[in-house]
């Protein structure tokens, strides 16, 4: 290498360095899709909006052709021992509301996972955008005790009205009947 070449190489190296730094910075930023952090689960696209972004995101996705809200369910992560697969910047809460949206024109699906804290277990309803969520939101309320603000009929759907507790919560015991080898008080 001649001496004349040296400054040029330096320049190239520093340019390369800054490009590297940009790339590293870009990689450190959480990947965004439709303005919210995104993750991929077995090839399926999962968006992670905050509770504040949730309704606006569903609304803009609806404008983009996600006309049908196929599914809405709750998950209680109490006692979940493994990694939650959440993008950086999303703090894990006890409850999650999982919403499935379907785009018939592009034949594509998108899933939303919204973190709902235990202390303040409520979320805005999707009813004004997708009336199809009326029953599923009632089910989530019934089973997990997550209230949907603005829902026209926030009552229990599967359990009787006077039922106490929310059965699908992880701290709600599974009912058991003692049988001979499991839990019976006396041997026969």
């Amino acid at each position: 290498m001649s001496e004349a070449d040296a400054p040029a190489t330096d320049e190239a190296a520093s340019a390369e360095e800054s490009a590297d730094a940009e790339l590293v910075e870009a990689l450190q930023q959480p990947e965004l899709l439709h303005g919210v952090p995104v993750s991929y689960s077995r090839g399926q696209v999962v968006l992670h909006p905050s509770r504040a972004e949730y309704v606006a995101l569903v609304s803009s996705l609806r404008e983009l052709g996600y006309w049908m809200c196929v599914d809405l369910c709750g998950v209680d992560y109490l006692g979940y021992s493994s990694q939650r697969n959440l993008p950086d910047g999303i703090s894990a809460e006890r409850f999650e509301v999982v919403v499935g949206l379907l785009n018939h024109t592009e034949r594509s699906r998108i899933r939303l996972r919204v973190q709902v804290p235990e202390k303040d277990a409520q979320l805005s309803t999707l009813f004004p955008l997708h009336p199809s969520t009326e029953n599923p939101e009632r089910e989530v309320f019934d089973m997990f005790g997550i209230r949907f603000e603005g829902h026209p009929d926030m009552t229990r759907i599967l359990m009787p009205d006077e039922w106490v507790g929310h059965p699908l919560r992880k701290d709600y015991e599974l009912g058991r009947i003692p049988v001979q080898f499991k839990g019976a008080s006396t041997a026969r």
Binding site: R62, C73, P131, I157, Y172
Partner: protein, 431 residues
């Protein structure tokens, strides 16, 4: 798939959220207020709150409807469900992945194989294993036959609900042919636990194709008889045509799938539009209606039986040789003969059936086209041998939301036709 656009969708949404066809009364209120309602200041005239069901022959189990009537006309209504709720999603969290199929198969009891299929597909997606070709074709064969038997059951109950009592017997008779084949293959007529994570429980018995061809030869003739008995009859048409009408935009907003969505002219069928198993290798038509009424939904199901027969014939021709379950030792127990000669094989077998196999952590949603629409399964795994959360998206549960809109301003006598045309299965709704 559809010719609609966002503007029509938005106007349908506005009318859906504002039209007040849903009666929002709690169960206790409904009991207190049942009977005569005097005119109110809001301009409502004399009304009657009426409870229909849960014990009513046309409610397909234990569906209860609270109806607000103005004379013979239904103004508002509310389906009340939960009478069959047994907490199957909760139970599913306490069963291993191998036991899980026995649990989910009891949800939609008219189409049990679809429940097993969607659960198995979700588990396999999490496991990341490949299923042998033959297993996939067997699964496809069994689910198409199940679609036939489920639609035949619909023909029977729909006929009886509308007064064609003979139809009850004919529908049941044809369904029995298919169930007999299921018994030969799976050992059971219902709740088979045949499709399992990793493949199917057993290979098809010898001579299955001849037996099946026999059934396939009978059914089309019988379908022609159904046409004679019902489709062309003026009474039948009068009871169904123009009754319980829904538009494509309403169906999309209400999340309706399956024959309800297709009756509006929207050609959406997961078998064609998001193919799973080997549906991209068989030829069939997606049947659509044009008026979105009860008659269209009846005709679509009748025609879907014919399409399923067409698919089954292709499956018989193309059925490959090979394994009927994955040879991945992690999920598949050793062959029976090995257990007699090898201690390790016995331990392996014992471990799989007691502890179960571990499924890598993650979450996944998988959907298949059941006879009633999109049947989905959402599983969250924490890496153990039991699902952390197992949620089934039952098509009937979501489709039921269309009922108040279908029944608005129709006669009480038509409710039976409308409920029947939605084809709800309460086991799946209440889970």
């Amino acid at each position: 798939m559809t010719t609609t656009d966002l503007n029509t969708l938005n106007s349908a949404l506005a009318s859906l959220t504002a039209d007040g066809s849903v009666l929002r009364l709690s169960e206790t209120e409904a009991e207190q207020k049942s009977g005569y309602q005097a005119p109110t200041e809001e301009g409502l005239g004399e009304r009657m709150i009426m409870n229909m069901g849960p014990q009513h022959p046309s409610t397909h189990g234990v569906l209860r409807l609270v109806l607000e009537m103005d004379g013979e006309t239904i103004t508002r209504s509310k389906p009340v469900i939960g009478y069959l709720h047994t907490g199957m999603e909760k139970t599913g969290e306490d069963l291993t992945y191998l036991q899980g199929a026995t649990n989910v198969t009891r949800m939609d009891y008219a189409a049990p194989l679809f429940n097993e299929l969607v659960f198995s597909l979700a588990v396999e997606e999490l496991l990341g294993i490949e299923i042998p070709d033959r297993a996939q074709w067997i699964r496809m064969l069994m689910s198409e036959l199940n679609r036939i038997s489920s639609h035949l059951l619909f023909m029977a109950t729909n006929g009886m609900d509308l007064g064609a009592v003979g139809m009850m017997l004919y529908g049941w008779r044809e369904r029995e042919e298919v169930l007999r084949f299921f018994e030969a293959v799976t050992g059971l007529r219902m709740n088979h636990n045949y499709i399992r994570p990793g493949g199917v429980a057993a290979d098809l018995p010898g001579g299955w194709d001849e037996e099946l061809s026999g059934i396939l030869d009978i059914i089309p003739d019988r379908l022609a008889e159904f046409d004679l008995l019902m489709t062309g009859q003026p009474i039948w048409r009068d009871r169904l045509q123009g009754v319980g009408v829904i538009t494509a935009e309403e169906a999309l907003s209400l999340g309706a799938t399956g024959p309800i969505l297709r009756s509006t002219g929207s050609a959406w069928d997961l078998r064609r539009d998001q193919p799973y198993l080997k549906y991209d290798q068989v030829e069939f038509d997606v049947i659509v209606g044009s008026f979105g009424d009860c008659f269209d939904r009846y005709a679509i199901r009748l025609q879907e039986i014919r399409e399923s027969i067409r698919i089954v014939r292709q499956i018989i021709d193309q059925m490959p040789e090979g394994d009927y379950r994955s040879q991945d030792k992690k999920v598949t127990p050793p062959p029976r003969a090995r257990i007699d000669e090898s201690m390790e094989a016995l331990i392996h077998h014992f471990k799989i059936f007691t502890e179960g196999f571990k499924v890598p952590e993650g979450e996944v949603y998988v959907a298949v086209e059941s006879p009633r629409g999109e049947l989905g399964c959402y599983i969250v795994s924490d890496g153990s041998s039991k699902p952390f959360r197992m949620h089934i998206r039952g098509p009937s549960f979501v489709n039921l939301q269309t009922l108040p809109h279908l029944m608005k301003d129709s006669f009480l006598a038509d409710t039976v036709a409308i409920i029947s045309s939605v084809d709800p299965i309460m086991g799946e709704i209440d889970r």
